[in-house]
């Protein structure tokens, strides 16, 4: 399977990266995808996929009050904060006519 321009554009959009065709070609994506495609010769008939090796079930945590980070701590690593320092700030996402 080859990384066509349409595919490059789609993956670029899905992963929110600026990926030009030239960059995609330099990343050698075709050869890696072809290589992982070798898996198809492995017989997995009747086998369930395995997503984790953890042999234990996740347990519910106790319903108790725990301390959470303060606003100051949450905003410590960003300057994208509104004037009142209460919310993250991003450009408007609602389009107006």
């Amino acid at each position: 399977m080859a990384f066509t321009k349409a595919m490059t554009d789609k993956m670029s959009r899905l992963s929110q990266l600026e990926l030009t065709e030239a960059v995609a070609s330099n990343l050698k994506l075709d050869s890696i995808l072809e290589w992982v495609g070798e898996l198809k010769v492995c017989d997995t008939e009747g086998i369930d996929p395995m997503f984790s090796t953890a042999p234990f079930n996740m347990k519910m945590r106790e319903d108790k009050k725990i301390s959470t980070p303060t606003r100051e701590e949450i905003f410590f690593n960003t300057s994208n904060v509104d004037g009142d320092k209460k919310f993250f700030s991003i450009p408007k996402v609602i389009e107006t006519k």
Binding site: Q16, L17, W35, C42, T44, P49, N80, I90
Partner: protein, 492 residues
């Protein structure tokens, strides 16, 4: 006295007897850090914090209340979030990130009296096998002579900091071999615990079903000190095991103190027959064979095992790891933390600009491929197929573990290669041939030095056991370490 002459065990003896203070050991460590600067093992050094830690340790010894690792100089891979200390994951994306919380692993080690020397250099977000993909420059293997050799990766800085005698213990993370492979290239011990035994909380995520925090040390006993400190349930990590951590240390300390004769009578060690036909350098092949003979002479019985799907482990691993990494790295939006370019007019533009500038080439490659194998139309053929192969491999290993105590295999197909920044991705991925299967099956594994090649480069061999048999594995590794005597413990 040089810190390179010490181990955790011997340093603790000196500290307990009062022959040395924690501040004196810290000074030796800082001297070595200064002396070995050109290796580029550290991204950040924490000299002020180390001074305070050492003074605290000296007080604890004075008050006769030393904790398990009181006064031991340690380094943390820059994947572990450390409160108010910059944590970069080797990436421009987190170049200025200062966590406001402490990872469980670094917190436990702090609470047990370690002295933090700094945060170590690494491949960006743990993605790499040569420590070439760091925003903060590549790392040099201390065994380099005329040519610069790879320190391995991704935890290259941690491995080098221990091997070159800058610290006595270092943390790392092993998603596909990132502890064992650099341990092998640098002639030290690298321990990857059973998945779930050590908490991942506060450790920057790469591939969540595979990421495994672990330890580098000069000896098996030193790594047992490290594992004892970091193992155990953590309610903040949903995949943390609720099983009680075993005692990894008492038996080993007893054997160390007694210095009695060591044999392997009664042990069954597995050898995987498929490895014979896999890509393996002559020097590693020969070391595996001579080690087998030595262990047989010491009473071990070798059992031939078959893992037919071993050849599929590498592509299965990369499919799964890349898929998980593309999901994990989606959190870097250029808004809440991390590199931020606000020149774009829309939210999407800003996010795209920040991510494209913040991530290096290898990370972008893995995100794009991970996104592809999870995309509609590819999901079943790639991600689900690889996850099925993972179960096939897991089942084959479980059958094998019924026949033996542990499996002996090469850690890497070769000794440390010459650093080559034109290496193709597939060639770099192939360096993980023998380490990734173990992450897919969640087992514990330890790489121990088996001696040097004819060219004087370290060769590591790994022992692999069944999940949660970490204590048994460490005991066997300790015995093998003392039989084959492959270490060069006085630093490079």
């Amino acid at each position: 006295m040089k810190i390179s002459k010490l181990t955790v065990y011997s340093a603790l003896k000196l500290l307990k007897s009062g022959e040395m203070t924690a501040t004196e050991i810290l000074n030796l460590s800082l001297e070595a850090v200064e002396e070995k600067k050109e290796l580029n093992a550290f991204i950040t050094t924490t000299i002020e914090r180390a001074g305070k830690d050492a003074i605290c340790s000296d007080t604890m010894y004075k008050d006769k209340k030393p904790r398990l690792l009181e006064g031991i100089p340690i380094a943390h891979k820059d994947m572990f979030c450390t409160k108010n200390i910059k944590t970069t994951a080797g990436s421009k994306m987190l170049e200025n990130f200062v966590p406001q919380y402490e990872s469980t692993v670094s917190n436990k080690l702090k609470e047990l009296g370690t002295v933090l020397i700094g945060k170590t250099n690494q491949d960006e977000f743990g993605m790499g096998s040569n420590s070439l993909h760091s925003f903060f420059g590549s790392i040099k293997n201390p065994y380099s002579c005329k040519e610069t050799l790879s320190p391995g990766g991704s935890s290259g800085g941690s491995a080098v900091s221990v091997a070159s005698g800058q610290v006595l213990l270092a943390t790392g993370t092993d998603t596909g071999g990132s502890i064992r492979q650099p341990a092998s290239y640098n002639g030290i011990v690298g321990y990857k615990p059973t998945y779930g035994l050590v908490s991942r909380w506060g450790c920057i995520a790469y591939a969540s079903s595979l990421d495994c925090p672990g330890i580098f040390g000069k000896t098996v006993l030193d790594t047992a000190y490290g594992l004892t400190s970091i193992a155990g349930h953590d309610e903040k990590d949903g995949t943390s095991s609720t099983e009680e951590a075993e005692d990894y240390l008492t038996t080993l300390i007893k054997m160390e103190e007694e210095q009695g004769s060591i044999d392997l009578k009664g042990y069954k060690i597995g050898i995987i027959k498929e490895i014979e036909s896999m890509t393996l350098s002559d020097e590693v092949r020969e070391k595996l064979s001579t080690t087998k003979l030595k262990l047989e002479k010491s009473g071990a019985e070798f059992i031939e095992l078959s893992i037919p799907s071993l050849k599929f482990a590498l592509p299965a691993y990369y499919t799964i790891a890349l898929a998980e990494s593309s999901a994990n790295l989606a959190r870097y939006d250029g808004i809440r933390y991390g590199h931020s370019d606000t020149s774009g007019k829309t939210f999407i533009d800003r996010m795209k600009l920040s991510r494209t500038q913040g991530f290096g080439e290898e990370v972008q490659r893995r995100i794009i491929l991970g996104t592809t194998v999870l995309a509609s139309g590819f999901y079943d053929a790639y991600f689900i197929k690889a996850s099925k192969v993972r179960r096939v491999l897991y089942n084959e290993f479980q059958v094998a573990f019924k026949k033996c105590d542990s499996i002996l295999m090469p850690t890497t197909p070769n000794t440390a290669p010459v650093i080559d920044d034109t290496i193709s991705p597939l060639k770099e991925y192939s360096l993980d041939l023998f380490t990734v299967p173990i992450n897919l099956i969640g087992s514990p594994a330890i790489s121990i030095p088996a001696g040097l090649s004819d060219r004087g480069l370290p060769i590591g061999l790994q022992l692999v056991s069944k999940q949660f048999e970490d204590a048994k594995l460490l005991k066997l590794a300790y015995k093998i370490e003392h039989i084959i005597k492959g270490q060069k413990n006085d630093g490079v």
